[in-house]
Every structure is written in C-alpha cells, then in structure tokens.
C-alpha cells in the first residue's frame, strides 16, 4: 500500500504533466474509438445493404431506325401518325454469355406463357366491353364501308354474346380506300364491337358499329427466333364461296373460332417464368409486393419446384389462398413482350392450328402478391398484367420450341440479369461488355441506389480508418512519450527505492500504479467520448443520407438520366417527413435503413487495447529500469 500511495502522491504533485497525459490519452482514445466504431458501423451497413439491395441489368436491342406510320381513321377522315421502331436482325441473347460476367442470376430472355383459362375467373365484372365476333354477312346494298354501312348477319360462327340484332353497322375504320362489298355476296368476317363514328357529338345516340379484326394469321417462330413460313394472310374478310370451309383458309377460320371459344378477346392468363423475381422490374422496384405467403426460395429456382405466385385479385376472384393448388396448362410462349405489353402474337400456329398445351401441371400457390401504385416511368412493358402468375423457370420441364407464338428483340422488360452489388462489379461488367463489341444492344443497370450508398459509406469508412489510424498512432506516441516521462526517466527513483530495500515487485508497483491509474481513467473517458462522438456522427449520417430505393443510375445510362435520378432521390428525401406516404413500394423511396447504433464493445476493445498497450509499454520501461545496477546508476548521477 505504501508504494501505491506514494506513487499516487507523486502523481498528484505533477498535476500539469498528469493532466496532460490524461487529456491527451482521452482525446486519442476517443479518436480510436470513434474511428473504430464508425469503421465497424460502415462495414455493418455495407453488409446490411449488400443483403437488402440487388443490382440488375436490363438488356435492350436498340432499333435500327424509327419510322412514322400513318393510320387512317375513318371517323376523322384523316391519318394519325405513330412512331414505330424498326429492328434489323434480332441479336441473339447468347451475346450475354461471356467469361467473367459474374452473373448471380440470368441472363434470361424471358417468355410469358399463355395458359388455358379453364374454369378460372379471369375478368372483373366491368371488364371485357369490347368483344370479337366471326360472322357470315352480306351488305344490304353494294357499298364501300368507308363509313358505317348496314350489313345483314346471316350466320354467327363465334360471338362472346348472342347477336340478336340485324342488320348491324360495319365500318372499315383504318382503311382509307376499303374494298367494295356487294349485296349479292356473302362474306366471312372477323369483327370487333364498340366503335362509333360520332360519339363526341351524339353520345349514346351515336351509331354503334363494328370494325375489322384480324382474321387467321400466324407469328409462330422457331427457337432461334425466325418466323415460320405460313399461308395465313390475316385478312379480316373473305368472300364465301362454295366449299370454302373445306379449303385450308376456311379451316383456319373455323379453328380461329374454336380458339376464341377457348379464350375470349383480351382474356389473358399469362404465366411468367423467371430465374429470379428480382429480374422482374415491378418486384425489383417493390411496386409488386408480397401480400401473403412467401417468395420463391433459392431451392425453388434451382430445383424447379412447382410453386407459383398469384396476384391478389385473381386469388380473391377464384377463392384461392396460399397452399392451394393452381392448375396451369401452358399453350404457347411469347418472347417478344412482357405479359402486360403483350399481344401481337397470333392465336394460330403457322399451320393454322390451335397451339396445343405443351406443359400441364398443378402448382402450389406459395405466395400472393399485390401491386401498389405503379410508377409512370418507362415502358408499360415493365408493369404487370392483371392475372399474371409467376413460376420458377426450371419448373417447366418440357420444351416450348414448337410453341413459340412470338419472338422479338431483347427488351428491358424481357431480358435481364443480376450481378453482385457495387460500382466495381458494374464497371467490370461494363468493361467486359464493351470488349464484346456489340453496339446495338444497350444495358441499363439498376442498383436501387446501392452504388451511391456504397460510395458514401466507403468514403466514410476510409475517413473512419484515417481517424482510427491517426488515433492509434497518436495514442502510441503519447503512451510512449509519457511512459518515458513517468518511467524511463525515473531510473534514479527505481535505484533509490532498490537501495532502500524495496523488492523489484514493489518497485514495479511504485512505478506502474500512477501511470496506469491515469491511463485507465483516460482510456475510459476516451472510450466514452469516442462512443458518444461516433453515435452523433452516425445519427448525422442518417439525417443527411436519405435515398431513393426505387432506382438509381446505371453505369451505361446517360448523364442526364443520372441527374434526373438524383433529383428523384432528393425529392424522395424531401417527402420523407410527410405522413401518409404511399403504402407500397413507393414508401421505400424514403426509407431510412442505416444502422446507426454504435457498439459499446468496440469502444471497450479500443479503450482496452490502448490501456493494454500502456501496460505493455510501461512494463517494458520498468524492466529497463530494473536492469540497471542501482549503485552504479546513482554513483553516475552523483558525478
């Protein structure tokens, strides 16, 4: 006790030195703790974001040119003009298969499959106003249907509803110079209802008329995307001649009628097969979200489990819930568009026949999804179709190669892949892609804001590393300097104490007690201070770094898009404080996801580390002191 008390007394008699040591040590330990805590926090956040975020790339073949298409509108007696993209040869999706791409999933050139509706209710009550009919009819008099002309329905081959009225009005709306129709002839025609000529002027008193609908045609393609040759012309009208229904064209018309009976106009039951729901933009952007059940697991994708996700309204209409079975009979694939963008594919194959079911299985409903407020950005193709069902790609066991109803160039909503997060990964991919030399395919990356977050966090982590390193170096220098003052320079004191009969152990206690008391107090105070500082810095980080989780700039996007994206992110940040934000994916736009809680264990480790280093340095100094021969040292000092 004497040695410890005496050590402390001596310490208090050098208050300036003692205070300096305490303050400097506390300051440097606070730097170490703050640096350590922030470094760990940044690491934790990066790890967390790595799990939350995904980086996908969408692939789009760029059109060779855009053409203006003139479409005649009989009611307006004029043309309307529409832009149409013209593609050259279709670029195969195999261009995406190159070494070093590092895909986590994909690339997939996705198809949606048309499933037979069977007994499932696909329509809401108000849906399906426009319907198709295929009839045999004759005009009441010779006429050119450039405007509404009366025709008498002689036979209904197909109609979604009973046709009790005759004559009806016909107008070849989109043809400037329609063909002449003769009253003494009978025509087979495909029509769609719901048209008028002067609705705006007369309202319900306007003449309701029928307009042409495509007749039998085929867009069937082979597995390489090449359109198969066909005799089907797509004409909406044919003159009925004796024995017409025995001809190939006549048979095709009858087959078309059978197909309409299987699935009415605009009635759609699309099934999208994917390797990763993150590749579906609506899911990626959280516009589509899980309302019930679960999403697909890695195992579902890998093993091709027969599980599916169904939309909430479809499930409700059909009384389905999670765990129920859904019977899917897939008829044909459309590789040209997404289910929402879809259509365009023919109902008949190149032979003029109905596509036969090539894959039929019961799927277990694993999850029910709902769709929130859709973003108005981008193409409609990114939106989901109302009855769209999702299944793992690998769950389709049979090949669809003979049932490809349409094939088109890669589009952002049909072709995507996933790569690891981070600007490094994107830049690497970009470099490798550029090396492929494919110049008419554009890749756009979406990372949900990860790159921006990663950049910010990495900068902060570097700063915290600098803080940590500065703190450590300072702490080491300060400890060594004060160990020199308090211990190494106290050789004489040790010699006197040894001369007075103190044991080596007592000498060690005498020297160490003082410095270690200050070091302990300084380390504890510094650890506390560092913890508080790091906590405040982390809280500041959260306040300033709100971000947009919907989308962010891609590596190959234009700078302009980048700025717009940043502005969108800023807007999302400004809106974050307002109540009643969107309930679905949009709410995520201003979501605060930073981890800001500092870890007291980190502070304890940092503070403890500095304290242990002080013990080690002090012990080294004390050992040096004790090695010297006391009398020789004191004699030297005297002389």
């Amino acid at each position: 006790m004497t040695t410890i008390r005496s050590s402390l007394v001596r310490l208090l008699r050098t208050p300036v030195k003692t205070a300096f040591f305490f303050l400097l040590l506390a300051f440097t330990v606070s730097l170490v703790c703050a640096g350590g805590n922030l470094w760990k926090l940044c690491g934790d956040n990066l790890e967390r974001f790595e799990k939350i975020f995904t980086t996908i790339g969408t692939v789009e073949q760029t059109p060779e040119r855009t053409e203006q298409e003139a479409v005649w509108f009989a009611d307006e007696m004029g043309y309307r003009y529409f832009n149409r993209s013209v593609y050259g040869d279709i670029v195969s999706d195999s261009v995406l298969d190159f070494e070093g791409a590092g895909y986590l999933s994909g690339p997939e050139h996705r198809a949606y499959y048309e499933a037979l509706p069977q007994d499932y209710e696909l329509k809401e009550d108000y849906e399906g106003m426009t319907q198709a009919m295929i009839i045999e009819a004759s005009p009441l008099e010779d006429c050119i249907p450039a405007g509404p002309v009366k025709i008498e329905v002689k036979r209904v081959l197909y109609s979604a509803y009973p046709v009790n009225v005759s004559p009806i009005y016909l107008c070849d709306h989109n043809t400037e110079h329609p063909q002449m129709l003769y009253a003494d002839k009978t025509y087979l025609m495909a029509l769609a209802d719901g048209w008028t000529h002067d609705w705006e002027e007369k309202g319900s008193a306007a003449i309701f008329e029928y307009a042409p609908l495509e007749g039998p045609y085929s867009t069937q393609a082979d597995a390489d995307g090449n359109r198969l040759p066909t005799a089907l012309t797509g004409n909406w009208i044919e003159e009925l001649t004796p024995g017409f229904y025995e001809t190939e064209r006549g048979k095709a018309w009858l087959t078309l009628c059978r197909d309409y009976e299987l699935r009415a106009l605009y009635e759609s039951f699309p099934v999208t097969a994917t390797q990763d729901l993150n590749l579906i933009m609506a899911f990626y952007r959280k516009q589509a979200y899980l309302a019930e059940g679960e999403l697909f697991s890695e195992e579902d994708y890998r093993q091709g489990n027969r599980v599916c996700l169904v939309p909430a309204r479809f499930a409700k209409r059909n009384g389905l819930t999670v765990g129920d079975s859904l019977h899917l009979a897939l008829r044909y694939a459309n590789y040209a568009a997404s289910a929402n963008r879809g259509g365009g594919e023919s109902r008949l194959n190149a032979e003029g026949e109905i596509y036969q079911v090539f894959e039929e299985s019961d799927y277990v409903i694993k999850g029910i999804y709902d769709v929130g407020v859709a973003s108005d950005e981008g193409d409609w193709g990114y939106l989901l179709e109302r009855n769209e069902v999702f299944i793992p790609t690998a769950s389709i066991k049979n090949s669809d190669e003979n049932n490809i109803a349409a094939y088109g160039p890669m589009k952002g909503y049909t072709t995507a892949f996933r790569i690891p997060n981070g600007s490094e990964s994107i830049e690497n991919y970009k470099a490798l892609w550029e090396a492929q030399g494919v110049d008419n395919v554009e890749i756009t990356f979406y990372d949900g804001g990860y790159t921006r977050l990663e950049g910010g966090l990495k900068s902060m982590r570097n700063m915290s590393l600098i803080l940590l390193a500065t703190g450590i170096v300072s702490a080491v220098c300060i400890v060594i300097f004060f160990c020199h003052l308090f211990i190494t320079k106290q050789k004489k004191r040790t010699a006197i104490e040894r001369g007075l009969g103190m044991t080596k152990g007592q000498c060690v206690r005498s020297l160490l007690t003082g410095i270690l008391v200050i070091a302990l107090a300084g380390s504890a105070a510094g650890a506390f201070g560092g913890q508080v500082f790091a906590g405040r810095a982390a809280a500041g980080m959260e306040e300033t770094e709100l971000f947009d989780t919907r989308f962010s700039n891609g590596a190959v996007q234009l700078e302009q898009e980048r700025e717009e994206s940043d502005r969108a992110g800023a807007d999302a940040g400004e809106e974050s404080g307002s109540a009643g934000a969107d309930e679905t994916g949009e709410a995520a736009a201003s979501e605060r996801v930073y981890l800001t809680e500092t870890d007291w264990r980190m502070s304890a480790v940092c503070g403890g580390g500095v304290f242990l280093f002080t013990i080690a340095a002090a012990m080294a100094g004390v050992c040096g002191n004790l090695k010297r021969e006391p009398l020789a040292l004191l004699s030297e000092a005297g002389k």
């Binding site: 005496s6 001596r10 008699r13 009969g501 006391p630 000092a637 002389k639």
Partner: protein, 225 residues
C-alpha cells in the same frame, strides 16, 4: 569486537557480451560496529563495486561475504537493505516529489510502521541531524545540499539498520557542510554503534575514519588501522 561484516577472498567479475572485467580481486577484510571505515582509491578502482556488494545489491562472483556470519548469497538481500543496511550518496538522492518529512518516513512505511508513529520518529531523526523544523514540509529541491545530505542520513537512520554505507557523501558539499556530515557519521558510529563504511576521495573524511582501506585495481589494502 565482533565482526559485523566479513569479506573473504571476494572477487567480482563484470561480464559483458564481449569481455570480462575483474572489478574486485580476492578482497578480504572485516567491518565492526562502532567504527568509521574509509575506502579510498581512484575512480574505477572498484570502490563502488565493493560498496554495491556490501549493500547487497549484488553478490560476489567468488569468495564469501557474510553479515554477522551469514553468507549474503543466502540472505534476503531486499530485507537486508530494508532493515539493516542503508546507503547515502554523493548526490543525496532524495525523492524529489516527496517532502523532507515524507522522505524520512518512507523506509519506515516500507517496514509497515504506522504513519503516525513514523512521523514522530522521522521528526526525531531530523532533529538528530540538526535540520530546522521549518524545512520538514519543504521539497528536497528547495533546501541546500548540506541539508539534503542530512535528510539522507536521517532517512538512513530511519531504516533502523546498523550498517551505513556512504558513497562520496561529502562530494557535493562545501567544507562547512562537509565537516557537519563527517561529524554526523562519526557520531552514528561512535554513539549509535553503526558500522559506517565510507567510499571517498576526500582526505578529511579519510582522516576522520577509524580505519582506512585503499583500493587499487580491485585489490584492497589496509592504509591505516
């Protein structure tokens, strides 16, 4: 009179990584209570090494050094210095951050004497070395060299031993203070029956000693007995 300390053929070799140096060569002598011994000799002759062995800070390489018949190698040498042998130095070597009083109390506190008791006894020792009471609470740096050496002697007395080893105790003092210290050392030997062993260059100190040894190249010889 009974021999307090006896050295028989004591040799001491300093061994470094590259060489060996024989600092003491077969030194034989004895020291008794109640006498002042002076060891004279040039620098590097081995005086301080011998004093170091006498203080128990090291042990002889060869030969036997015994304290009241007990081999110093077999003794608890820390306890020996704490309770029986004290050393005073040319540069006094008081603790600069302890007061005069605390310096004198220090060895007693190491011996677990109660603080109150230690304080009373320290005052007594300081009186015996004629140090004014006004200096008791001063720091060593604030008093003169002669006063510091007297404090050092009081501290040596406070340890309560019978052996006082002094390494050039008057080396830093003027002649007036030198005489005071010499008188004090003689008084301790003759009245308090200390064995006082002084290593010195100073002829006046040697003249005051009862026995004078000379040290040359590590060999000890009797100069005056």
């Amino acid at each position: 009179m009974e021999k307090m300390i006896e050295a028989v053929n004591v040799s001491y070799i300093y061994q470094t990584k590259y060489q060996k140096t024989k600092a003491l060569s077969e030194v034989s002598c004895s020291f008794e209570r109640g006498k002042v011994y002076a060891i004279t000799g040039k620098s590097g002759s081995g005086k301080s090494t011998f004093l170091s062995l006498l203080a128990g800070l090291d042990v002889p390489t060869e030969g036997t050094l015994s304290i009241e018949g007990q081999d110093i190698r077999k003794m608890d040498r820390d306890a020996y210095r704490l309770n029986r042998a004290s050393v005073i130095y040319q540069a006094f070597h008081l603790f600069p951050l302890l007061t005069v009083m605390e310096n004198v109390m220090f060895p007693m506190e190491l011996q677990h004497v109660a603080r109150k008791e230690a304080k009373v006894r320290a005052q007594e020792y300081l009186k015996q070395v004629d140090l004014p009471e006004t200096l008791y609470k001063k720091m060593p740096g604030m008093i003169s060299g002669g006063e510091q050496q007297r404090v050092a002697i009081a501290r040596a007395m406070a340890a309560g031993g019978e052996i006082l080893l002094a390494d050039e105790p008057t080396g830093n003092l003027d002649s007036q203070n030198e005489q005071v210290i010499v008188d004090l050392l003689c008084k301790l030997a003759h009245e308090k029956k200390y064995a006082v062993i002084v290593v010195t260059h100073n002829e006046a100190v040697a003249a005051a000693a009862d026995v004078v040894y000379g040290m040359k190249d590590g060999e000890l010889s009797v100069v005056r007995e």
